[in-house]
């Protein structure tokens, strides 16, 4: 595949341990689902890189095709797609998210 958007996504999720594709920015999320994932990551104290799909229509479409996932936000850890808002919230509630992050060597703040 030589699709430049796909190549860019692959590069970004390789270069950054935790990546969130979202609507808006962490400070000004433009969607409640994106805001919810930002909140979870903030509560865990995880540093993440975010990309605003609203400012980039090709990324907005490209990320959905990349992961075969129809919605945004999308969270990636160490290059792997973890899920959207429902999965992230569920994993946070059960403690799985914190565990998964620490297994992969990503720092979180104490509960």
């Amino acid at each position: 595949m030589t699709n430049p958007v796909v190549q860019r996504i692959q590069q970004d999720i390789t270069d950054n341990d935790v990546v969130l594709y979202m609507k808006g920015t962490p400070v000004f999320p433009q969607c409640v689902f994106s805001a919810a994932v930002v909140q979870v990551l903030s509560e865990l104290g995880v540093k993440f890189k975010s990309f605003d799909v609203l400012t980039d229509p090709s990324l907005r479409q490209g990320i959905k095709e990349f992961s075969n996932w129809p919605t945004i936000p999308q969270l990636y850890v160490k290059g792997e797609f973890i899920g959207g808002c429902d999965i992230v919230r569920e994993m946070y509630a059960t403690g799985e998210l914190r565990e998964m992050l620490s297994t992969r060597g990503i720092e979180t703040v104490a509960a």
């Binding site: 689902f33 959905k64 075969n68 996932w69 129809p70 919605t71 797609f81 973890i82 899920g83 959207g84 808002c85 429902d86 999965i87 569920e90 994993m91």
Partner: protein, 78 residues
């Protein structure tokens, strides 16, 4: 554009025949739903794969006609 809860259930069951589906219309606006789907087809699948199966069943409506579907999936308790 809104979508009827019965239609969501029908599409899911068409693709995943043994699914137990429970749908709640969160705001009564036909646009914000919460669905729980339980099926043996989910055994051994990751959450992402389980949700992808449900999205697949909805044939492109998710994120389009259907703005918000909070999804919870599980395999039946063994």
């Amino acid at each position: 554009m809104a979508m009827d809860a019965g239609e969501i259930e029908r599409l899911i069951k068409q693709a995943i025949p043994d699914a137990r589906v429970n749908i709640e219309d969160l705001r009564g606006d036909g646009d914000h739903y919460a669905a729980t789907v339980i099926s043996a087809a989910f055994i051994g699948k990751t959450r992402v794969q389980q949700h992808q199966m449900v999205y697949q069943a909805l044939r492109g409506r998710m994120g389009d006609q259907l703005h918000a579907l909070a999804l919870q999936t599980a395999a039946p308790p063994g």
